[in-house]
Symmetry: C2
Subunit: 353 residues, 2 copies
């Protein structure tokens, strides 16, 4: 490991509760690491927040800007009109090598646009992806509970090569940040058989199967998402988006069902009360706060998106993801594996898409 | 209402537990109606099963064939090689006007292939659809619990017009079979705004919005499926398939979570036990047995697909769907509304797709 201290550029004004939460979460992470944090945003506001928390001043610097993109702004318009908005300034600083990663809890569209404007993509990669980590019920109880699905909404159209790139990026993410050993990879489809799905899926299946460095287990269907049959789920953006949101909606409906049951009878109420300890324990596993934040995949420098409504604890965990990815050189490994794939493709030693 | 007795053609050999379950379920429905049932299949086996149940002989006739398509057969191959398989014979009889509807619990692929071979589509309709009824948690507690989503897997590609046809067919299904009054209709998409999604979705949105005879409420996302925001969910086949299966998988995972919790602690076990009355009641609402069977949408004659593993009670409920649809002239209303849409399109009084 390099002894060089990691430097994280923080879009301090991004997110629903910024800069309060962003500063609080960063102070929490600073206390557990030797990293340096460049806080980009309104200096007076950031200073006022910093004063509320014990922190080592050497770990922080502030780059002032009084422009910010709010949730009310149209991201496309704001990016043209607010050149010094904190998210854009952070992305420019990342481009200029002033830090190892940038972290923002701003709107996903704004973060992707800012990154697209200043950061190159990993050579070969045409489309960025949003990957979502979610807890699953894996058969092997000793296995990590998590899986990652990508893309869940950055794209509405994908080529077979995009999906192969997602496989390599998802694999590297789980290996470097979550310590998985050779994670399994599956393609989200409408049937298990190789010939199922549209032309993109059929072609992607063939390429994925031909790659010896991918632990490809074939197609999975929607009902295999939450049981953790696969560690990485590669998906066209539109399908991944609808799948993840459907799971989310079903979870909310179960919660509401329980509330309705609770209103029904005293005996049910008592039952729910007795269960609540167990439910809380399970909910903790399922909580995004535990793994808050996820890279936007495909850029040649590390861009981490934290949840817009996250609390300080979740923000800290998002920073932990960023630090781990920097420490493990995640982007470098992604670049290497995709470069190998692209070069094999040129040499004709892999399936053509 | 016509006084003519409805005649239902039954693929008596279709389904995992045929002809035992198919005959049992038909006898149950016969006892509650004045319909006539033509049982297509192995005469000796059907007779042996009929003898096990009290039934009015006048309501039954048998058309013998000793060929059947089993779950082990490739449907495409079987359809070429077993011209007298019960499902094909039933479809031919429906074509020839020997009954008002056919019902089969055979494999979905076999039923769709059989219907495609002999039954014309509703004029204008290019692609058949599979619609799935599912229970939801609607805000208005007096509203029907059910919604229908279509297509959930008959197609991987759709045109905007297909989606509009699905809207009309879903609306008519809920109105005529489930007594809905002007059901709401939404398009499954990756965002609520009109401009979201692929070109098919954008074009379908415009047409749906322009139709005064559709109660179109706009786009919904995956998380709105189970909360019943819309009565009819119109969806491209691949998205609908993944969405429904994701919800199904999430439901199974919740059940498994509860089982894991149950193993944990005696106090949780007691809690689950106390809750079980409420859970059972809720599960009954969610059970497919209550509304077993669904039309394959798009054919100009009524083809109802019952669940392959259904029990006699669910089979009976599938027959009830068929009888209600015949009685209400569901196919006729679908034909009329689609014909009106197609004619408006020709006259240029609706959005072009």
């Amino acid at each position: 490991m390099s002894k060089k201290k990691p430097v994280i550029i923080i879009d301090a004004m991004g997110g629903d509760f910024a800069p309060g939460i962003t500063v609080d979460g960063t102070c929490q992470m600073a206390a557990e690491s030797n990293a340096h944090f460049i806080m980009v945003g309104d200096e007076a506001k950031i200073k006022a927040e910093l004063e509320k928390h014990t922190h080592n001043k050497d770990q922080f610097s502030i780059v002032h800007t009084d422009e910010e993109i709010t949730m009310e702004d149209s991201p496309r318009k704001a990016i043209r009109e607010k050149k010094n908005a904190s998210v854009l300034l952070a992305a420019r600083m990342l481009k200029e090598g002033k830090g190892d990663a940038m972290v923002s809890a701003g709107s996903t569209a704004a973060v992707i646009l800012a990154a697209s404007l200043y950061i190159k993509r990993i050579p070969g990669v045409k489309r960025a992806a949003i990957g979502t980590i979610f807890p699953t019920l894996k058969e092997d109880r000793k296995a990590s509970l998590y899986s990652v699905i990508m893309d869940v909404g950055a794209n509405i159209n994908n080529t077979p090569d995009d999906l192969v790139h997602y496989a390599y990026m998802g694999k590297t993410y789980l290996e470097e940040v979550f310590d998985f050993d050779n994670p399994s990879i599956a393609l989200l489809n409408i049937g298990a058989e190789e010939h199922k799905g549209n032309d993109t899926m059929k072609a992607a299946y063939k390429i994925l199967k031909s790659r010896a460095d991918l632990n490809f287990i074939g197609n999975i269907e929607g009902n295999d998402i939450t049981n953790g049959k696969s560690d990485v789920i590669v998906s066209e953006g539109m399908l991944g988006n609808v799948a993840m949101k459907s799971v989310e909606g079903a979870g909310e409906s179960v919660k509401r069902l329980a509330e309705i049951a609770m209103k029904g009878k005293l005996v049910w109420k008592l039952g729910l009360l007795l269960l609540s300890g167990g439910i809380k324990k399970l909910m903790k596993v399922a909580s995004y706060e535990e793994y808050g934040g996820a890279p936007i995949f495909g850029f040649d420098k590390l861009v981490v998106k934290n949840h817009g409504r996250c609390n300080a604890y979740a923000y800290k965990n998002g920073l932990r993801t960023a630090l781990k990815a920097v420490e493990m050189n995640m982007i470098g490994f992604m670049r290497d594996s995709i470069s190998k794939f692209e070069s094999d493709k040129e040499k004709g030693t892999t399936q053509e898409s």
